[in-house]
Point group: C2
Chain length 386, copies 2
């Protein structure tokens, strides 16, 4: 019953039937004015979610491709940058910068805690000559279930001239991110997350300040050259190379659904999922990796019980209970497991996940009282808390 599988991972998200209808539409000519209109509509709707008037482009790639675009187009090889790294996706910024020869300084923070705005402020204060050209941060650190405080990090920069570049692949639309108000220069997000469509598209916004920096950047780039994207958009609202047309058609549907739900309600919904999962996990006597203040609205990281392997938990959940959860990543690979609650999720999906997690932990020898996590969730739901 593959189609009854619960996708409780931090993306890919379950996809609404309405969106699948869009994806299953007959192929459309990608150079037609009709498709140009769709690109225009979709782009404008994404800008509303970004809360920006900046340029915004649709890329046919995973979020990582858009992250590469954010490095390749805006920071020259040899230039200095800072990376706020407190998880696996912070490390992805490190790897990409390394590949492009960026002279990146990593400000590491403990995995499971928020990146420290003070550490960033201190470092930038020492940079009197403005040698640092960019600061890379992660909005939602998928690997640890931590939501970094992007607003505070940006404020920590003060008037420093560096670009502020944000990976919000798993954060965008699940938790607030105000691109213009907070002055975020380049912001990346991905389709298979809160946008509720399958993987294959990524989005990137570019501020005027970022465009100015871009002019001086000489890194070799072609597919991810955002100047080409801008040219195509400006000429006829299109993409420079063939886009994944049917994903765009699906995105058109999902953006309509998101507009109908309203951005604030989407934030609230994800926040509710976070609270409900944390309530159940605590009732089961399990330990959460992140504090309430630092916790992600997209994914919850749970420390594994003693004497139980993470792999066994996710394997039994998947094979016996038809529920796909995530283990840890990077250095926490075997220490935590993660429940995603991102995108097209219903509270019933979470009820099933907790009920089956209880059975799985019991089967693996943990002294868990069956029904206890479910009961805590039921009480939470009936109280009507948000």
């Amino acid at each position: 019953m593959r189609d009854k599988q619960y996708l409780m991972i931090p993306g890919p998200t379950p996809v609404p039937a309405k969106v699948m209808e869009g994806i299953m539409a007959p192929p459309i000519g990608h150079r037609t004015p009709e498709f140009g209109q769709i690109i225009k509509e979709v782009t404008e709707n994404i800008k509303e979610i970004y809360q920006t008037k900046n340029d915004l482009f649709i890329l046919t790639s995973s979020g990582t491709g858009a992250m590469e675009a954010a490095v390749a187009n805006f920071v020259n090889s040899g230039e200095k940058a800072i990376i706020m790294d407190n998880g696996n996706f912070g490390e992805r910024w490190v790897k990409i910068c390394d590949r492009y020869g960026v002279d990146a300084e990593v400000i590491s923070g403990p995995w499971g805690e928020q990146a420290d705005p003070k550490a960033l402020a201190n470092r930038l204060n020492q940079d009197k000559n403005g040698e640092i050209k960019a600061v890379f941060v992660t909005h939602n650190e998928t690997s640890t279930g931590v939501l970094n405080d992007v607003k505070a990090l940006r404020e920590a920069m003060g008037d420093h001239p560096a670009l502020f570049i944000v990976d919000s692949v798993s954060g965008m639309a699940a938790a607030p991110l105000k691109v213009d108000e907070w002055k975020l220069d380049v912001v990346v997000s991905g389709s298979q997350k809160a946008y509720m469509i399958p993987p294959g598209l990524a989005f990137v916004s570019v501020s005027d300040k970022a465009w100015s920096a871009s002019d001086k950047v000489k890194n070799p780039r072609f597919y991810f050259d955002l100047r080409a994207a801008k040219k195509s958009y400006d000429e006829k609202y299109n993409t420079p190379y063939t886009p994944a047309t049917n994903l765009v058609l699906g995105l058109q549907c999902s953006l309509k659904m998101m507009k109908e739900e309203g951005l604030e309600n989407i934030y609230k919904r994800h926040n509710y999922f976070k609270n409900i999962v944390r309530t159940a996990v605590r009732a089961l006597g399990l330990e959460l990796l992140a504090t309430d203040k630092a916790a992600s609205a997209s994914v919850t990281a749970i420390k594994k019980p003693e004497n139980i392997d993470v792999k066994d938990i996710t394997k039994i959940m998947r094979t016996k209970h038809n529920i796909v959860m995530a283990g840890g990543q990077g250095k926490l690979k075997n220490d935590i497991f993660r429940i995603g609650h991102l995108g097209y999720v219903h509270v019933n999906d979470i009820i099933v996940t907790i009920a089956c997690l209880e059975m799985t932990l019991k089967e693996l020898g943990m002294n868990v009282e069956l029904g206890q996590g479910v009961r805590a969730m039921q009480e939470f739901i009936l109280k009507g808390d948000k």
Copy 2:
């Protein structure tokens, strides 16, 4: 989130994605040899489920249409028949027979109990001249969650020459029914039940004995004239009038899935659902309508708690929890509610249903311990009982 709704009614069943793919195929010419081959394949696969070598036809109608065909083609107006009636669908036989002027004698049994084979045997023993031409029974009485003992009922007939006509609309493939071994002359079933496709098709098998009776029947009939069906099948494996082609294409897919799962496993699965639901219902202190021996594998009927309206239960389940359950039917309309577990159901669907039922009953003022029904199910599942 209509597409996340749980359809926990005794049909229509949830439909697998694979089946929807079949239904969404481009329309096919219904008079082509290709479609004839599909009708042939589908019919043969249904015969395996019926466990019969009798003729079997696909009708484009609901199950009720096939029930009408079973009356119209095989019992003359004015002829005597017996109807074993212990529920709303027993009463449907009564209504159809009445419309066709059949002189039907109703052997009524209490709703919630099995039809009584001894009562049938006693009545037929008095019919020394063979005036009774047909006995109508219901395999699975959807309205009360009772599975009648069709084998015992047929055995109670002994050598009496009457036709034995069975409504197995919600029973076929969920619980064993051996058409040839048990000598069942006319057997009706419907697409939206254990066959896992949407409503719109019905199936009827006809024994040689039933064909002989049919020759003498003069009721007016056209769309449901099974002689026309037989002629089309015999000539070119087709239907006399345009069939619901895309439902047939979906049925082709679902029958392949059913073959893969195996008939015995499908029976076991439904029996497991029955046991798990009954375990949870008992743990919640609710009362079941049918005894274990009489209980249906397709649907479970539960007596409503005191001081709570059935309508409120089903309304809250549907509007707040996205779960569709059934109230009562006929004279039990306001006394019971029913959880269907028929067709494309996963045990997780039942877990969600029970968890949400607990919240609903609590909200309606019942003194229910949250999580108690879920825990009973979890224990049952972990024990590995079937």
